[in-house]
């Protein structure tokens, strides 16, 4: 499959306390293929959301971004001027944020917010944009017989309905890539199921590539074809979902997947109820390690792990892992 997006060597720093720098990305590399759903998995602070903002060049002004390249459809996004970048955002790469309540404008009708995206990028007249928005809102199953959803304000909709509006907004210009940052984390399981179903249907029908960011591996099952696991601002393992979930190579991936609680309906006696956790605490983003970032928490740590960072190596021809246990 042809690569849609290739990002390599991305470094992002924020100013921290007492003159120290917060290292959000430490040479992250990411590849997304045409029409595929890639799950980006990791704990809070691993750099998942920063990578999304970096791809769209939406980092705050205080952030320092350096990188080799972000190649998207043959163009290096790092070299584009801001005006050119504005034509990419929304039109070619769209974003679905974690909290739709904050992502939508509270004083604007939701239909107009979808129309606004079309007016900015599609070159249609306002009448056509309005009609297309109504059709799109219907496609994301936003229908209300008593009142037109188009005329509703965000506060009049439930969290699930707001997220459907955000999905309609992201698809308004038929982008090649949609980035969804924890799109279901504020929703209950029933609504989460519906939103994931909707994303699955749209990506399959329209051949849209999806970068789905989450801390919960369960979300990716049945949706993502490949998974990239992040830790300490780097992608430390990536490969096909079945392979990564059934035969994880990196000790961090193994520990993370081990933390997933068993399905409901399998209660354990209280004496055995200790839940698995990853020892130690998450990486301090103000510290800079010359070795593997996971080494202090790793149960299979070796001397070399603290000396230098492992190189990425291919495993089983389809996966890639950064770990000395696999020859890195």
């Amino acid at each position: 499959m042809q690569a849609l997006l290739q990002a390599s060597g991305l470094h992002v720093q924020y100013p921290g306390s007492q003159g120290k720098a917060i290292h959000a990305l430490n040479g992250a590399c990411l590849e997304l293929r045409q029409g595929e759903v890639l799950g980006l998995l990791g704990e809070s602070g691993s750099g998942k959301s920063t990578i999304a903002k970096t791809l769209l060049r939406l980092l705050p002004a205080t952030a320092q971004l350096t990188g080799d390249r972000i190649e998207f459809q043959g163009r290096d996004l790092l070299k584009l001027r801001e005006q050119e970048m504005q034509k990419v955002r929304g039109a070619q790469i769209a974003m679905i944020w974690q909290d739709p309540g904050q992502a939508l404008n509270p004083v604007m009708k939701v239909g107009d917010q979808v129309t606004e995206v079309m007016l900015a990028h599609r070159g249609w007249n306002s009448r056509r944009c309005r009609d297309e928005s109504e059709i799109l809102l219907g496609r994301v199953q936003l229908e209300n017989p008593e009142r037109r959803i188009y005329d509703a304000y965000p506060h009049q909709l439930s969290g699930g309905q707001q997220q459907r509006v955000a999905i309609a907004q992201s698809l308004a210009c038929e982008p090649s890539l949609v980035i969804a940052d924890e799109p279901t984390s504020s929703l209950d399981p029933e609504t989460e199921d519906e939103i994931l179903h909707l994303l699955r249907a749209f990506t399959a029908q329209r051949k849209v590539s999806l970068l789905l960011i989450t801390h919960d591996p369960k979300i990716l099952i049945g949706l993502a074809s490949r998974v990239a696991v992040m830790y300490g601002g780097r992608v430390i393992e990536e490969g096909p979902l079945e392979q990564v979930f059934q035969r994880p190579n990196h000790p961090y991936t193994q520990a993370l997947l081990n933390c997933v609680p068993p399905p409901p309906g399998e209660p354990k006696p209280k004496s055995q109820m200790g839940l698995p956790t990853i020892p130690g605490s998450a990486l301090d983003p103000e510290s800079v390690s010359t070795g593997c970032a996971f080494a202090p928490r790793c149960s299979q740590r070796m001397e070399i792990c603290e000396v230098r960072r492992p190189f990425p190596v291919d495993v089983e021809d389809t996966s890639r892992v950064e770990c000395f246990l696999h020859g890195g």
Binding site: P189, E190, P217, F245, P261
Partner: protein, 284 residues
Amino acid sequence: MVVDQNNQQNATQPLLAVRNVTLHYAPRRFFGAARPTISAVQDVSLELFAGKTLALVGPSGSGKSSLARCIPLLEQPSAGQILYRGVNLSTLDRKTLKTVRREIHLIFQDSASALNPRLTLEEILAEPLVIHEAGRTAGTIRKRICEAMEQVELPEKWKSRRPLELSGGQRQRVAIARSLLLRARVLILDEVLSALDLSAQGQIANLLLALQTHHQLAFLFITHDLSMASLLADEVAVMRAGRIVQRGSPAEVFTVNLQSTSSPLLRNSPSRETVPATLISADK
């Protein structure tokens, strides 16, 4: 007085009982136009026992958090009773109610907004002692804070840190430490694990279980994570549209759905078959 009663409760007697509680919200008039009353909780009854966990599950808007706010009378129920150690809380005067409230604690999902960002951990933890145990010396307060921080596995040297310098899991530990300081007997845990990573969820769940065993705490565990409800609860109550529609052991409420795959994670995929039928709306 209620709080002076013997802590040794009969195991068959509930520590806290909610009897036929109903809560209506009467919205303000909008430009003179009357708006219909919203029934958040309707005729709900449940019991919490010392050392046991009752999980309350249900979709958003089903009334879980409204019920949680009714228990320590942060919301006055429109009808029904909240009985703590057999005493109806609505009949207590303000001073007695204050002493009862130190034993019934609410811990919220968003730990960042539950803690004052301007205060240090030491000031946050001292606050409940200053309110409820006036007259204690600064030395005693410091000692109690150190003990509580040790119990929730927070290093003592972090006393001068502020909430936003901590991770979500660490902030939840501070919220739990605040309850321990006042020797709470009932913890109402409103989505306390929802905003955390899987590993932090496990750490906080293990901490809560250890504290429950040690202090014989009663938990009302409000969640929409069915796996966690199944794992942590002795009993599960399913709430929908303000009513409890199903109650039972986790095994009874969640239909076991073992699929034939070697990976425990892949067995864990969200499946309608493991979701109680009472949680799925009739129109789907």
